[in-house]
Symmetry: C2
Subunit: 435 residues, 2 copies
């Protein structure tokens, strides 16, 4: 980790600027994959899975037998942990479902909103060395709570054509209605266009490698909604002289082990802390299985010494981190001043890992500075909020003249007419329903 002491404005700006994500190198490959799936569906998916992943698949859908068998392959403690995490995630997400009141904005003019679940959602769960079953919980449980009728999960199979039992187990707990073996840009294309096996969905969720995230970006521009734009994972730790350097180092490393392009920042007003954290990071890094990855990530990372904590808060708001850990005295007061962050962890014992797995908050969060305008995945991500209104004849007599004046000023005569014709209606309202 680089160390910057009291950087000047221009230097700070440079430090906080993220590397530009360049998709030029993979653009044509991904466009080609999308076209193949759109044109040839399952056949193309089968060919691409063979050519790219070296796996020959007959059927893409995971069978009920496979799902049932998965449960017996997990240890009891892991199953218990998954169930407890699911319970916490449900409790927190359930609290986000709010029923708003009907508002009578003028007498006889009644407006309201209703949460309606997106009918078909697609969830991408990355493969790779480890089974990311926590992401299954984070994406499928809110879909289940929202009442989405179709919850389609796709994930790349291993070399034996299987999905990991922890993924299947989490998917079952979370109410996935269809589980398919498919990965990469071709899986995103299958969800966006539909194939003979995999249903077309309305919205696609989930993290992935560059091919996956670029494919999501492309299908979004064609009209399929996605959860949010993607970027490498990141954490900012705001700490003062009172913070335990071992805790801080462990948080930085937990983020750094995600991938070589992860970014971690320590913001502090204590030069002593930087020194201690630096030593602790080296010490803890040495024994990590993913030390090589973490070490690479630390090369993109920095400790930044600032004159005061308010100055550090200001820098953090400019950076807009995905995760922010505030490990200082009076952490609550500083947390109140955060305007740009995905998720905030307050106090010495709130390790980010708790939020990644089990505390109840969602771990799908805006990275790459998108926290300035995007929220993490929540119940809001699975609902459309449809507005409704009902205006009575009496109500129209109140609001109609206002609409007529405004429509006329916007030179939209037919808009005005649609009100006037109703204002001129002089029969009893009931006459409209019994002609």
């Amino acid at each position: 980790m680089k160390i910057f002491k009291y950087p000047e404005e221009s230097n700070l700006k440079r430090i906080l600027t993220r590397p530009v994500l360049d998709n030029d190198g993979i653009k044509n490959t991904v466009i080609d994959i999308l076209q193949q799936i759109r044109k040839n569906g399952d056949t193309a998916l089968r060919t691409l899975t063979k050519n790219i992943d070296g796996i020959e698949l007959n059927d893409f859908q995971v069978t009920a037998n496979e799902i049932d068998a998965a449960e017996s392959m997990l240890s009891e403690p892991l199953k218990k942990a998954i169930r407890q995490a699911a319970q916490n995630i449900k409790a927190f997400h359930n609290s986000q479902i709010v029923f708003e009141k009907r508002i009578e904005t003028m007498p006889g003019v009644i407006c309201w909103r209703k949460n309606v679940p997106i009918q078909k959602v697609g969830l991408y769960i990355p493969g790779g060395s480890a089974p990311l079953f926590s992401t299954v919980l984070m994406l499928a449980l809110p879909a289940q709570l929202a009442g989405c009728p179709e919850i389609i999960l796709v994930s790349p199979p291993d070399k034996k054509s299987n999905l990991h039992p922890a993924i299947l187990c989490a998917a079952k707990i979370s109410g996935a209605t269809g589980i398919f073996k498919a990965g990469g840009a071709q899986a995103i294309a299958a969800l966006a266009y539909g194939t003979e096996s995999i249903p077309k969905v309305d919205k696609i969720f989930g993290p992935g490698n560059r091919y996956v995230t670029f494919a999501k970006q492309l299908v979004q521009s064609e009209g399929t909604a996605i959860d949010m734009p993607a970027g490498p994972s990141e954490v900012a730790v705001l700490a003062d002289e009172f913070a335990d350097a071992g805790f801080v180092a462990s948080d930085l490393l937990a983020q750094a082990e995600h991938g070589p392009d992860s970014q971690v920042f320590l913001f502090t007003d204590s030069a002593t802390l930087i020194e201690k954290v630096s030593k602790e990071t080296d010490r803890q890094l040495a024994s990590l299985p993913r030390a090589e990855i973490a070490a690479k990530a630390l090369q993109n990372s920095a400790s930044i010494l600032l004159k005061s904590l308010p100055e550090a808060v200001d820098a953090i708001n400019r950076y807009a981190p995905e995760h922010l850990i505030i490990n200082t005295k009076d952490a609550h007061i500083l947390a109140e001043q955060i305007v740009n962050a995905g998720s905030v962890f307050i106090g010495p014992f709130s390790s980010e890992a708790c939020g990644d797995y089990a505390s109840g908050t969602n771990h799908t969060l805006p990275t790459n500075g998108f926290a300035n305008s995007y929220s993490g995945v929540s119940m809001d991500s699975y609902f459309k909020k449809i507005t409704f209104q009902e205006i009575t004849h009496e109500g129209l007599k109140k609001i109609g003249p206002i609409v007529e004046i405004m429509a006329e000023a916007e030179q939209l005569q037919a808009h005005k007419n649609s009100v006037s014709i109703r204002l001129n209606f002089c029969g009893p309202e009931a006459a409209l329903l019994r002609p």
Copy 2:
């Protein structure tokens, strides 16, 4: 309007398929405009405004004097109407601001969300023949209610380099913090990248022509958030034999006058109604100032006769209209079955025009089928919902072991360590804050 009677499945599918929006013809122009603004800021904006719009501008920002003068140029009834509409819009949008409770998912594990306003929002108000001051209210009032510190409004000036007084008046009422004369793709670029005059914003809202909406799509893929993808405006009317044909025709025409690419559909189970509406539409069309535009839109439009109202509801849910007017007996019961629509108007007197201007609901809604996954603009569009959590030492003792098991199963040892190191901490919690 074409008439389709009891169409078969394959035919219905074709009827409900929207024309594909093709941006190929304008792609290079828009990309070039974006690059010019990014590179040369105000200078490029000045040149483009001169070359494209034929207007020479010295200053882009509207002065306080111009804004103050605007008010005196509007009629009292119009000012009064705007103020009443603003009050209704505020009342309904204010009801959407909900404070969620803190949730203790396990003892000592506390999670909550907080609404934080997006710090800088940019609002595009189209120019053209009429001043769309209602869009100013719809986009700026929620930003003001959310507490967005910077609310930047851009709109193309007229040939005398002025913005219409109704736009300025609505902008003042709605708390815009900066108003700029700029239009087209160049205005979107200015908001996305910033120029010497126009501040860079975090999120861009507002309708526009093909250049504007394609520019929004491009800057979104570069990282600036936008309100939603765009498409031509549209309405579906669901009506039965009890509906007044004049009302129905007036609603169809109000939508049709928006633009030649607007689309209107009548879904009904009554052949008689289709006949009556057809005659009424012809009659009302004849006297419209925008008859030519409306007539073109009606060419893309259709009346669809179905066997029953439930069948019609099913077709509407497949189409996912931006606006839906339900003008039937028992309209409420049918409204309950709608899962894909932007905004729903219930009953004979709920004309869409009321929602366009003054009832309180937002008129910025998902078109082009996006209502299957997007909501209209609401308070949610101006907030980030940041999650927070605080875990006590006691809380960590409960949740920590769960996180350790899950992190280990995902082979993320550093995640596990960040919990273990805290669980192994045996001093009193206070020691961390007074070393």
